[in-house]
């Protein structure tokens, strides 16, 4: 019985392969975008975990605020019984980007770290003695093939962008002889050990060292991606919902006949569930495969962003992870279930003698419109409530989601109202028919138009956010990078000689010295700043108390960056606890693109607090025409490598490059979402086309040519797309405002001014029209070629 019934159900798809394609493709696209984003996130997270694990990230560590640990302190701890293992860490700069170098002592390291050395074949002394050996993953090893570096051994399962070496070799490569980055505390300690304060009072214990911070820093980035993935999935679901609803409506007579011929309702429902499940699995597989391709295409940029912006160790290569493979299937099935629940419910309760004609789907129902309006109102209220009472990143995204959904649900009602007004103003009978007919068609198209609205609004919102950010960022760079040339000496001694040498050649030599420290319980940078007009004139202050620069120069006040100020609710006049004593906050400055908290302190105060601060970096003020001369002199007299001298232009270019790369992914997802929406319009129009014949046949019979009808159909699609685009602009701007004023503040800690870019909207509008035009072209051409006999059939036969 079921086989016969199944063959009848399946024969529908055989006869309407395009509908099947729509359904599968819609679901696959939705799944693809979602699982692609998930794959990227999973890859990045796995990388963090691997990197964190590789350097004992979950173990407690001993660190020294504002600097490295003296090796003598390490030995003193060991000689007192403390079971700690030293880690030396730093960046290796290669032509192919930087790699984190981790120096370990295999003899004292915890097993999960020491195990890396099992790759050594035989002579461990080659690992210990210069030139030493590096151990890295195959991909990282490629970047480390450099005559200036030790030979590289490739090890399976190594964390990306990370190389192990012996501690002594690491100290040598990083210029950190006698210094240690941190000490890993072993889980078992001997019976009696003296307290830490008795041996090394300058060290503090942190319960999980390593990369916990990294996950925190990059959380916002990943949340952004996830939100985009969800948006794409939502847009995809509109397609799936439309396709499934259509498929069910079209087959209603078949369902009725099957019931009349003796198929129980339960069996019919089960068969339909099985059918949908099969589609979901096929589409899921397709979607996950597509998602893999998307992720593989986007990951290099994401990895570059994460490395550049956060220093996170992520490679551009995608590994196969069953987690998101399974998640992709799950979301495909869940999506199908969500999209088909209503239709299935109706089928299960369908009386045998229900009207056999496709009806509800294509008919305007005032009740539905009211229902949508009510839902839109509720969602708008939720959105408003979230912004008023909620806080945090998740609340921000909830608010965005509610806002977008409300706008989408509102769309049919607004379009319907606009069309009604237009119909009233229409003079000719043809125009009246056009408007009325368009309005009647609206319910069938509204899902696709909602998808388009979402895609356009997201595009405008994100585009406005990115462009506003870029504009602000560029201006900020100009302010912040006031020095013409930035130089870094090899040693403190060389730096002193260099300063003496540069004195007569430059207008000013501004020290750029900094230490990394814990400020208010989180990692932060503390920069020393000289008392100079360059800062007074250029530094991008957001707020400041009077005479702030004098107070900073005197070592009485500090400046904090916006992200720190927002996080800790600091305003000028507050005090802030810093390593070495509490100071007053004199002002707040903008510091875009920096994930860390930052404190600006007078350079003398910095040296007083951190006597062993590296004093090698300087910004030079000098007339541009002297730039090359100074550069040449530094190379000639001090042997400074070109990498140690970067001019303003180069830094700006690099910063903007990092910035642009950060949003490459956003841009790509934007385009994909728009493409999905275009596809939604195409499928809606194509499926409607078949049902449109009875509506068009009378117009044809009354004297319109098929070509005229086709042109009207095309015009109708363009007009609806244009209307949707107009409505998308305000929605997109609200979205942009939320992104800039709520999400950015929560995610990154800075608030950006909003700028408007009408030209971008125009471009997007044209794109939307092109998409809608292309989507409606095919059905229109089909209509213009429909044989008159088929139109006649409308009259000869009810169906």
């Amino acid at each position: 019985m079921r086989r016969a019934a199944l063959s009848a159900l399946w024969s529908h798809w055989r006869r309407h392969p395009f509908q099947l394609l729509t359904l599968i493709l819609g679901l696959a696209l939705a799944t693809a975008l979602w699982s692609g984003v998930q794959a990227i996130n999973a890859e990045a997270r796995a990388s963090y975990d691997a990197a964190s694990e590789a350097v004992g990230g979950t173990r407690p560590v001993l660190i020294r605020d504002g600097g490295e640990i003296d090796q003598a302190t390490y030995i003193a701890l060991r000689r007192a019984g403390w079971q700690v293992s030293p880690i030396v860490e730093g960046w290796l700069f290669t032509e192919a980007g930087r790699v984190r170098l981790v120096g370990i002592d295999p003899l004292t390291a915890p097993a999960e770290i020491a195990v890396a050395t099992t790759v050594l074949d035989g002579e461990i002394s080659d690992f210990f003695t210069p030139p030493g050996q590096l151990i890295a993953s195959a991909a990282t090893a490629e970047r480390l093939r450099d005559p200036g570096l030790p030979p590289v051994l490739v090890a399976e399962g190594m964390a990306p962008s990370l190389a192990f070496t012996d501690i002594g070799i690491a100290q040598r490569l990083l210029g950190m002889e006698g210094r240690i980055t941190r000490l890993i505390v072993r889980e078992t300690q001997p019976l009696t050990i003296p307290p830490l304060s008795a041996i090394a009072p300058d060290l503090t214990r942190r319960d999980s060292g390593g990369q916990a911070d990294l996950a925190r820093l990059t959380d916002s980035f990943h949340l952004n991606l996830t939100a985009f993935g969800l948006l794409s999935f939502a847009v995809g679901l509109f397609i799936v919902h439309g396709a499934i609803a259509l498929a069910f409506e079209q087959r209603r007579p078949v369902f009725r006949t099957l019931r009349a011929l003796g198929l129980p309702a339960r069996d019919l429902t089960l068969l339909l569930v099985a059918e949908l499940l099969a589609f979901a699995v096929v589409a899921g597989a397709l979607g996950v495969a597509l998602g893999y391709l998307i992720a593989a295409a986007l990951l290099p940029d994401v990895a570059a962003t994460l490395r550049g912006l956060y220093g996170a160790p992520v490679e551009g290569a995608l590994a196969f992870r069953p987690v998101w493979w399974a998640a992709g299937f799950a979301i495909a099935v869940a999506g199908t279930a969500a999209a088909s629940a209503g239709a299935l419910w109706k089928i299960a309760r369908l009386p045998v003698l229900a009207p056999a004609r496709p009806r509800a789907w294509a008919m305007a129902s005032q009740a539905t419109l009211w229902l949508q309006l009510a839902a839109a109102g509720a969602l708008a209220a939720l959105s408003l409530a979230t912004i008023l009472f909620g806080s945090g990143l998740v609340a921000g995204f909830v608010m965005l989601g509610a806002l977008l959904l409300a706008a989408a649900l509102l769309l049919p009602a607004i379009l319907s109202a606009v069309l009604a007004v237009a119909a009233r103003g229409a003079k000719s009978v043809l125009a009246q028919w056009f408007w009325a007919d368009t309005r009647q068609q609206l319910p069938g198209l509204s899902l696709a138009l909602m998808a388009l609205l979402l895609a356009l609004a997201a595009n405008i919102g994100v585009g406005t956010m990115v462009s506003s950010f870029r504009l602000t960022f560029t201006g900020w760079l100009d302010q912040r990078l006031a020095s013409e040339l930035y130089v870094t000496a090899e040693t403190n001694e060389q730096a002193d000689e260099m300063v003496a040498f540069l004195e007569p050649l430059t207008d000013a030599i501004l020290p750029i010295w900094n230490v990394e420290a814990q400020v208010l319980g989180a990692p932060a940078e503390i920069f020393g700043v000289a008392d100079h007009a360059t800062y007074r004139d250029h530094w991008p202050l957001l707020s400041a108390s009077a005479g702030v620069w004098d107070a900073v120069a005197a070592g009485e006040a500090v400046l904090v960056n916006e992200q720190l100020a927002r996080r800790e609710r600091l305003t000028p006049g507050d005090t802030i606890a810093l390593p070495g004593g509490t100071l007053t906050v004199g002002g707040v400055y903008s510091d875009y693109g920096n994930p860390l908290a930052q404190v600006l302190i007078g350079v003398d105060a910095l040296v007083a607090r951190f006597p062993d601060v590296e004093r090698t970096g300087y910004g030079l003020r000098l007339p541009p025409d002297r730039l090359d001369a100074v550069r040449t002199a530094l190379t000639r007299d001090f042997g400074l490598p070109p990498d140690n001298m970067i001019d303003q232009q180069a830094i700006k270019a690099f910063s903007l490059q990092v910035f642009d790369r950060t949003f490459t992914v956003t841009g790509a997802l934007n385009v994909l979402t728009l493409a999905v929406a275009g596809f939604a319009i195409l499928t809606s129009l194509l499926t409607l086309a078949a049902m449109r014949l009875p509506q068009l046949a009378p117009a044809w019979a009354l004297g319109l040519t098929r070509a005229q009808l086709a042109r009207l159909e095309l015009g109708r699609a363009l007009m609806l797309a244009a209307l949707t685009m107009v409505l998308a602009v305000p929605v997109g701007l609200v979205l942009a405002w939320v992104l800039l004023a709520v999400i950015n503040v929560e995610a990154f800690g800075w608030r950006l001014p909003m700028h408007l870019f009408p030209r971008d909207w125009a471009v997007l509008g044209v794109l939307a029209l092109v998409a809608a035009g292309l989507a409606s072209l095919w059905p229109a051409v089909k209509l213009s070629r429909v044989p008159p006999s088929q139109l006649l059939k409308v009259f000869s036969n009810e169906r």
């Binding site: 060991r78 003899l107 020491a114 035989g122 003695t129 019976l191």
Partner: protein, 361 residues
Amino acid sequence: MNARALTSLRSSRLSATLGALFLLLFTTLTHAQGFAGLGSTADDGFSVPQRGTPFTFPEDHGPHPDYRIEWWYVTATLTGADGRDYGIQWTLFRSALRPETGPGWEDPQIWMGHAGLTTPDAHFVAERFARGGVGQAGVTAAPFDAYIDEWHMRGPSLSEVNLTAQGTDFSYDLNLATDKPFVPQGDMGYSVKSGGGQASYYYSQPFYEVSGTLTLPDGPVAVTGNAWLDREWSSQPLSDTQTGWDWFSLVFDTGERLMGFRLRDTAGPDYTAATWITEDGDPTPFPDGAFAADPLGETEVAGRDVPTRWRVRLPDRDLDVTVEALYPNAWMETSFPYWEGPVSFTGTHSGRGYLEMTGYE
């Protein structure tokens, strides 16, 4: 005693948690093994013990980095104020990757510490590793100081030292002193380990009197007793067919001492050697075959059968005793596990001592 650490190495299995260390010492082993059959030939520039080389003290108390392997090995039989018997072991191993020293982390000398404490019903173990060159472990001859992490054996001289070690659940702090001479083993300190001629430099100080404190999970115990130091260095391991080692240090109630060992061989008869030491420290070495040690009973320890009752004979001195472990489960669960613990013996002679057994699988 040369053989024991090396056979330990051979019996070891790669364990994931100790992969790195295994590798270090595995290197030592494979290289040494490859040249074992060539007798006195040095490989990789390592020095090789030569017959007829007298010791010079205190210099020879310090390290010999041009030899592949070396140890400072203390065992003590103790009696507590509570009347119970105890034993402790304190060992500092030195293993050279190359026959030289170097500055800082480049130093190719690797150090390993083992500490054991045995009671009649428990056995405690601790283990430490360190790189030479950075000050985490090392030995100086005068004033004498041997250390790894917070463990030390510190003189003024090697005749009067303070000995400490601790693990997660035990510690000891003992004072060792003697006015008796150091006792060369074998042929004036040249100790042959096989018929093939493998040998080491080997001397002992079996006469320490000990007092101090053990700290056990139940609290501190004051102890007194005897301690025995073995100093040995070499670049050659056992021969390929020698699978393990049974080593006895016996202290007779009469005040005399006996060191005897048996090297088990798969290819032929076992190789044995012994030294009878008078109360004044005069040694009499005995050649292969004079000393005999035969298992009387086994105990299952850490999944293997280990002989913990022995019949030990030295017919030349009318010695025939039954040796019994104080605590049969004295298993050293270190990277290269072995059995080491205090014993007592009865028969023609009686007294206490230490037993070490390696290579039981």
